[in-house]
Amino acid sequence: MATQTRTMLLNVGPSHPAMHGVIRLIMELDGEKIKNVDVEIGYLHRAFEKMCETVMYAQCFPYTDRLNYVSPLINNVGFAMTVEKLLEIDIPERAKYIRVIMSEISRVTDHLTCIGATAMELGAMSVFLYMIKAREYLYELVEEITGARLTISYVRIGGVKADLTPGFTDKCFQKIADVRKVLIESDELLTRNRIFFDRMKDIGIISAQDAISHGITGPFLRSTGVAYDVRKANPYLIYDRLDFEVPVGTKGDNLDRYFVRMAEMEQSLRIIEQCFQQIPNGPIAGELTGCVIPAAQMVDRAKMGQTEDLIEDEVDLDPTLQGSTKKYSKSINTNRRDVVLPPKEETYGNIEGLMNHFKLVMYGHGIRPPIGEVYFPVEGANGELGFYIVSDGRDQPWRVRVHPPCFPIMAALPQCLIGSMMADLVPTFGSVNMIAGELDR
């Protein structure tokens, strides 16, 4: 009887334990070797770009949270800075530092998730648990400032929602020390681990040339030895005042990507520490001018028309909403009244504030940038996260385009996989750090 050799088609996903995110890979296998891969995306498409065209500029922030949901703060910053570029706004120093601190915390959480998940898929369950524990420390910091862990909507056009809480610096330094401990621990468990090392080394190689021609950025590009980082190439916010390095690899394999991410986390922690040394002081708690009244009471008094002297008082709001009080608004928001909502004391206390408020929140009014188009890139955790906004002079963006960093990486994934073993899919896919929310938008 004649024997016949045929290749086998194997479908992985869209919902598969080794796929953190919904994506479908159709592989053509020759024995255990991958001969061909077809990547199918779009399972998490939620029409981000279309929905942004139907709402006002400020209302896009909740949508941006859901792009890269592991580091939502960076998306917020990216979108806000694009609109600010369109409006030519400069924000106060303190807000810049706060944005950098929050972005870098997010970057660390993103890298922790990526490495932890990759390690778990290769059998190192304890590293995953340690790293998620460390991520939890950082989420606690994020939660304290923004009031949420994931869908934070923290950044505003022209500033941020809330100032840092008193005692945040010490708490942050404590958490950084804890995270460092976890990083050392995980490094000991992974870097000299035979199993992890053998499965990562020389797997999923991509050359610098190929990575560039695919438009890949971020840790994936840096692992091939190209030191492109938006924070260095086009410094935004206050990155030019900070001392940090851009770690690069040499070979562009999975192990290099692991090393680059580990080194980047350390650099991000360094950036946070430097920010706390340089950040200008905010208003001091307890420095009061009028009497402090609860928010509900202020609303009630305003509704009954008892607005006399209301503007002298101070509203007592939750720390995560501080930005809209008279005391904090100035130091973390720009003074452009056509962009930033007035402090709540003014909204309820006098007619100018109330009109200002409604001019910004009513449909057909709102923030109205001039006609034009801008592109602004920030360094996301996976690479260059760029927003391209076209404005037609109305309160809703005409077109919002997000350049998702893992989109080109997924397009290049077949190149990394073809020729390697079926089992190598897992570490290679893990090192891509695909975030379906950002990929499919």
Partner: protein, 164 residues
């Protein structure tokens, strides 16, 4: 000489307009010249635009509530970046509504493949010479192109599973 001026000089007759807004340099060129301009940007040693950072499109139907009438309905927008000179350049190609088609850049940048599929999927703009121009985010049976301005954002379509 800036990259913008270099292209201006080289392709004077294919140029429709140039502008710089908020520091973003933009060239608007005729669709026939796209490939030549892209090749020039990539292969001229002192320009060296090795990254095709982003590729997208914009639909200008009823722009600014119909107050501004654009000659062409679509614009395909390319963002180039040069690692060597740290320069960014935006190139826009206007396309008419009745025949939206432009040359593909997949042979110059393989990364253009998926971006062009996405533009086809979302706007219905064809890319001449593309090796695999099919939908990427939406499913094959989807009717219409959702990011076109005449596609209502709340239109529902039946979800069709893959053939079993």
């Amino acid at each position: 000489m800036t990259p913008l001026q270099r292209v201006q000089e080289q392709f004077a007759k294919d140029l429709i307009e140039t502008h710089t807004f908020r520091g973003d340099e933009t060239l608007i060129i005729r669709p026939q010249a796209l490939k030549a301009v892209a090749k020039f940007l990539k292969e001229t040693a002192e320009l060296d635009f090795n990254f095709l950072m982003d590729l997208t499109a914009v639909d200008y139907l009823f722009f600014a509530g119909g107050r501004i009438q654009k000659e062409f309905r679509f614009e395909v927008v390319y963002h180039f970046y040069s690692l060597k000179t740290n320069h960014r350049l935006r190139i826009k190609v206007p396309l008419a509504e009745d025949h939206p088609e432009v040359d593909t850049l997949t042979d110059l940048w393989p990364g253009a493949n998926w971006y062009e599929r996405e533009v086809w999927d979302m706007f219905g703009i064809r890319f001449k010479g593309h090796p695999n121009l099919k939908r990427i985010l939406m499913y094959e049976q989807f009717q219409g192109h959702p990011l076109r301005k005449d596609y209502p954002f709340n239109r529902r379509q039946p979800l069709i599973g893959p053939p079993n």
